[in-house]
Every structure is written in C-alpha cells, then in structure tokens.
Symmetry: D2
Subunit: 252 residues, 4 copies
C-alpha cells in the first residue's frame, strides 16, 4: 500500500489494445498511479496486494460479472466499459453492492464525453426548435445504420419534444426519392453517411424561424474514451453504489 | 374585452421593422392573440382598454422607462428587448415591481434562443476539454471584432474553466504571423471572420484527446429574435418580479 | 443613347421581386448602367430607344420566347433565367441568332455561382476519392427531395466516376433502418434535410484513406442569383450565339 | 524477374513509419506489386535485381540525392516526398534526367490530394467572390501559425484575385481586439485554431451577396499521403522528366 501518488488504478484486460490505451492514459495523469494490469490468465490477487483502489474493466461480457464480484468483494471500486449489461446483470451488481456499502461501480455504454454531452444538449434544446434532424457520419466498415448513438440521440430528442408537447415538425415534402429524407426514429429524421477517411462523427441540427443550432461531435481516434474513463476513475470513489452512464458524473 | 384566444399581447413600437415582425409572429401563434400596436404618438390607454396582458417593447432607451412605468402601473406584464439597461435602471424597475406584486418583467439583451443556448452549453462543457476556441463569422459591415456575443461567450468559458481549476490550454506555437492565433479574451482565443453573404454565426470548438465537440449557432435573418420573444410572452405571466436574460426561462 | 457609363442594361419583368432585385444590383454596379425596366403591359420599344445593350429576362415561359425574338431582332444581347427551355425552344433561339451574328444570348437554369462551382469541383474531385455522398439542406416548405441541384450534382459525380473507371464505393452496411442511407442516385447517396430556419444549402463529402474533402454551398437569401446575372451581363456581349449554363463563363 | 501483377514498386526507407505505411498501401493495391524495401544499410542493388519499375522515397534530405542518382542511372522511376529540394537540387535532378530520357521523377511537397485540390479550387473560385478568408485548424503541438499550406493557399488566392483585378475585400471593422481579424497574408485573412483532438484541417470561405462557398479539407490521420503517392506511382512511368508538385497529375 506504500507510496505512489494519487488514486491507485489497476486495469483488467491490459494486454488488449483498449486496455493498453487505458494504462497509458493512467500513467500520463499526474493525479493517478497505475498499479497492475491483469490479463486472462493472470492472478487477480495482485490487484489486492498492490493496494489498488479503482479497477477499469474493458473486457468481455463472459468474464465481467466474475471480475465485478471479485472487485466488490475486495472493496475495490470499478469503472466498466464492457458491454452486455441487461436488467438482470445490473440487479445482480446492485445486490453485491448492498453488501459492500462503501464501494462504487460505474457502468457506461459510452465513455466519449462529447457523445454524452451532445445527447444531453440536444435533448435540452429540442423543445425550443420547430425542427430537429440527426446526421451521423462513419467509416464505411460500419455494419449498422444509423449508429447506436444516433438512434439513442433521436429517441431522447423525441422524448423531450413529447414531454414539452411540441408540435410535429414541418415538412412539405410531397415528391421524394426513396430514402432521401432519412430514417424515421420516433418522428426524428436520421441520416447515415458512410465515407472512407471518416472515423465517428455526429451532428444534431435544430432549427426555428431565422436561426439554427448545430451540435457536432467528432471522434477522431479510438482513444476518445480515455478522458471519460479518467473522469470515472476520479469520481467513483465518492459515489458508492451503482452508477449507470456517464451523465451523472458530468454534473450538468 | 371578452373573447380572443390565448394570451392577449400588445406591441410598443409596432410601426418599426422589428415591431412589425413581432406583430406578425404573435398573429401567427395559435395560443397568442394580438390586441393593439402603439407607436410614438399613439395613446397608450388602448393597451389597457383592449385587456392586453403582455406588452412587447423593442423601442428606444429614451422611452422604455416611461413605457415600463405605465405598464407596471396598469398591471400589464412586459417583455423588453430595448437596450441601455444599467444597474440604476434595473433597480428602478425592481422598485416599481415591488408595488405591483403580480406583475412580471423580462429584460434580455439577446432573444436569439440559439445564442443563449450556445453560451450555456459552451460554459457547461468547457471544463471537460483541454482546449476551447471561438470563431465568430459576420457580414463585413460589422464595426466591432469580436462580436459582443463572442466576447461574452469567451468570458463565460474562461470563468467556467477557472472555477473548475482547469489547466492552461496547450499551445506550442513558437513562430506566428501577427494575429494568426486570434484575440485573447481571458485566455480563450477568439477569431473573427468577416465575409460578404454571411449574417451572424458563431462556433465554439472544444477539444480533448481524440475527440472534439462543436457548438454552432447560425442567425440567418433578422427575425431570429421572434421565437425567444414568444417564449418570454408565454412565461412572463407566471414569473412575477424582474427577470434579466432569457436563461432562466430556458429552464435547462 | 447619350451619356451613361458602362454597359447599358435593361430588365424585363422589372415590376416583380426578382426583377427589382436585378435592377438594384445593376444600379449598384459601377461598370453597369440601368436604362429601363419593362413590365407586362409596357412598350418594349423603350429598350431600343434607350440604347440598351443587354436585357435580363427573369419572366415566364409564356412570354420569354416572344421577348427573345424581339431582342435578337433589335441586336440586343440577353441574359435569361426564365425556365422552361427544352430542345425545341433552344433550336428556335439558335435559328434567330443565325440571322443576327453579333448577338449573344445566355440561358441558364441556375445563376448561383456557388452552386455551379460546387458541381464543377465535385465532379472534378470525384475520381480521386473512394466515397462521395451529397447532403442537401433546405427550409421545410420545399416539396421535392432531393433538390434538383443535388440530383444533378449526384449524376455529375456518378458520370465522372464512371468515366474514370472508379470502383464501387465501399459500404459494409448490413443492418439499416429504412431510409437511413439516403436516396441512391446512380450509385451516389443523397441525403435531404428539411429544417426550419434554413434557406438552401448543399454539401458534397468526398473521402479516401485518412482524408476528406468537403465542398459546401450556402444560399442565404433570394438575391444569390444576382452576382451570376451580372457576370452574364458583363460577358455576353463578347459571346455571340447561344450559351447554355453559367459554366462556360466561369472559365475554370 | 518474370511474373508479378501490375507495376513493380520498391520503397526506400521501408523501416520507418511512413515507409511502412507506403509498403502497406502498395501491397493493398490490386494493380501494384511490392518488390523490395531498402533501409539505411541495405544494398540498393536488390531494387535492380527485382525488376523494380518505380521507387518511392520518403527518406531524408541527406540521402535523397544519392538515391535519385542511383535510380535514374538504373532506369527506375521515382516518387519523392522527401523535403529539402531547392532550385539547385532540382536543376541537378533535371541534369541526370537529361541523360535518361525515358525516366520520370515526381517530387512533391504535399501528397494529400485533398490539400492540393483545395488550393486549386480556392484559387479558381476566388475571383467570383467579394470576400475570401482561410481558417486552418491543427493539434496544439504545431509550432508555426499559420500552417504552410494555409499560407500558400492564401497567397494563391491573393494572386488569383490580383490577376482578375478584384476589388479589395469589404471590411468595416473599426474597433477590434488585437488579433481578432487574423493574420494578413497578401490581403487575405488567415485564422489559426489550435485544439487538442484535431489533426490537420483547413477551410477556405468565399462569400458574395446572398451566398457562400466553403472548401474544407480534413486530414484525419498520418496515412493521408498514401492515395497521392499511389497516384504518382501509377502515372510517373508515362511522364518522363521531372514533375514538381501533384497538381499536374490531377489533370483538372
């Protein structure tokens, strides 16, 4: 437990690309101290022995529950980007946390701060505008259209407008080529561009008489999750229990 | 006085361009009903006689105080875009309102909802990013650079970063042409573009490792104040006392 | 014939909105001199009597042919934005011009220089990029999607790529909501955004490994045809015969 | 030496990052065949023995002249991204090429096709617009402001406008913070944004009454030179003598 400055951080899956990027980010931060990385066949007890306070887990749905049970049982906080959490899994994690009152776990589907802020701002602004549409732009190797983030963004916008009793958006289109007006997600049009050279980008356009507001998020490389992970690492020690999504930590 | 649907709205300065645009906007709104326009030499008592509930004032600093005293004295709410309100004037308005407990007055320097939202979002996001810069773009007839809105936006960003204890922005520039890096407003760089064909536009760019967030506001014509004015008209009846700035009404 | 500096310019349909905007633009130009405007019931001989050298015609398909016969017969050049020219009409105009060797007529479907340049640049660049998509954004009162300009742009891009033997664009989309990927115009995806507050905007996105090129055109008000009309007025005197489209005058 | 499909391509400096990226790009192209990579201490004769037709050189000013003499002497074409070519060096290369009539050498300071196209399009469009400004946006580790590309772009724009006798740009700015209006490069304003998360981006904005045209180039990663290099490799065999700059190959 001796020595080391700042919060002591370990990483599950440190042998993978994402895990390595997180190790690098932790090591580059003045207020964090990297303790130990644990890979598939490594002994997890090194996390306990090294006095690790927070562990980051970007691993696999097949192992993440076992990892969480171990961490919570040992009083270690967790920041989790691994996918596959349904209601049952979340309930199970909450159950474990009931028996470990000081421990905090953050599980988030998206650690790109800009993506989370974009959604928040779009939803907050949506009720002031007559029209809202979403354009998402990705590299051409992407399999789904629209992106999961664009789909969630559109639903949040639709929800905010329904809550505010907003009128349907104006649209006089009477002659259209098939697909020209995009996909309809709860009344919000979503357009998916696939272009060589792009990474992951999204634009929410809001318009009313004489003015428009555009909220654009660009992910330019795969490390864009790092600042969000560090934000979680810094705060989770003060947030006992389960936190789902980065939103609460942004404190907007 | 009977009849009429929705809030009954009068307009000071209805003979001018802006006043006329407001009359048009009120008449186009289903939940508002235009009562009477009052110009320089018209009798203001028509506002009272017509049962007007809210009056919009986009007139001149030389007459606005007199207008407000009249409205408050007659129990009529006011939405004011006229400029020139300093602390003394605001104190005077508050004094009148103390004697008219049910009356609400909204005074705002900027009724473009998108401009207000942009500033809010930029300030809220600023602490999560290593770098923030502002680009404002206007028609070439504009006399000042940067624009007042860009200047205020930069100061709000600087304030938010100071409050969060943010590190200075990274900038390795060692060789620069004079002016290339823009104006320095409390440590935030602001760039002013002047281009024929443009109206009034602003972009706040925020960047951290691997991702950027851009918040852009475009005013495409002079009517962009209308939606903000209508928002004020709809809410001021439920906000007794003095409200300064559109921010509080946006309820973000 | 006396006096006046620069090219002497008359306007057909000067009583309409567009006609008036053209009169204003001519009067504002140092090298042009406005002679006379002719409306529906006015006598056209004033154009001859005033020594007019070039006449601008933004009128109606039902009168434009008669106007052109008159102008060509009197040795006056014409710049025409009126729609409805099919092959028969163009052949007829060419016939009249055969008998008036010094006279020039310019007929163009689009006088917005930026729209014409956008198309040209997009077509010129298309063969160097793996992917090209078009996003057009308009006010919500527009009836057709995509816009005529976007449709023509996409076809020009497709043609340029076919000529260059370009490979099909990469697109791994396997799961898509209906319409998400836009309309397919000869293999080029076109997305149509309809948003309150917008006027007429278009973006061509081109991408290859590690880089993208974006060509964006914004029409911010209805006067955006004026610079193209003046360009035509200045050049048509030196271009005897029929010129179709603004492209040739841009001399790219 | 028989066999192999397509043009046979070798790479100088294949051990470095850039060299390796070029090897990868060549191997991924159906119509090119990678022969051999040569690093600092390797024997260059393998290039001859392998029947290499074109060699790519992204090495160092201290070795590139020796490399070129070797290649030209052996009848091998060259595509060169190495910097440091002044008039003396170019004259020397021309001298060698005089004795090797079939050999072609391409030397270019910038292989990003989009950067070259941007400059071309901006210069071609500049004379049709009242106002032109340049915004360049880069990561904050960049030492110079504006970027070399932005500086060259502004000069080309200024040159094109001078050739066309364009009027000075309109600008009514009378009160400005120092630097707000950017750097003045031959009368063209250039603004330099430095933002964490960005790579290398440039926007040329052109405006006239009622419309604007924007030409934007984004380099999203370091491999953006690859398509330009391949373009050079494919064409240099048919372009004997010295070609400076990618422009001629784009055949616009």
């Amino acid at each position: 437990m001796a020595g080391g400055d700042g919060i002591r951080v370990g990483v599950f899956g440190s042998g993978g690309k994402v895990g390595q990027a997180i190790v690098d980010a932790v090591e580059a931060a003045d207020d964090l101290s990297f303790t130990v990385g644990v890979d598939k066949d490594d002994d997890r007890s090194s996390l306990v022995d090294s006095g690790t306070q927070v562990v980051v887990d970007f691993t696999h749905p097949s192992v993440v529950m076992d990892n969480l049970e171990f961490l919570i049982g040992n009083g270690i906080h967790a920041v989790v980007g691994t996918t596959g959490f349904d209601d049952d899994r979340l309930a199970q994690v909450r159950g474990w946390l009931d028996d470990a009152p000081g421990v905090g776990v953050l599980i988030a589907p998206n650690f790109a701060i800009g993506a989370v802020l974009s959604m928040r701002f779009a939803a907050a602004a949506a009720r002031f505008y007559d029209s809202v549409e979403v354009i998402e732009l990705h590299h051409p190797h992407k399999a789904d259209a629209p992106s999961g983030t664009a789909y969630r963004t559109a639903r949040l916008i639709a929800e905010a407008r329904a809550d505010a009793g907003a009128a349907p958006m104006p649209d006089a289109t009477s002659t259209a080529l098939d697909g020209a007006r995009g996909a309809d997600v709860d009344g919000v049009r979503v357009h998916s561009v696939r272009l060589a050279g792009l990474v992951a980008h999204q634009e929410v356009l809001l318009g009313t008489e004489g003015e428009t507001l555009t909220i654009r998020h660009d992910s330019l490389d795969r490390t864009s999750f790092a600042p969000g992970v560090l934000l979680g690492v810094r705060q989770i020690g003060n947030r006992p229990g389960l936190t789902v999504g980065l939103d609460d930590l942004l404190d907007l």
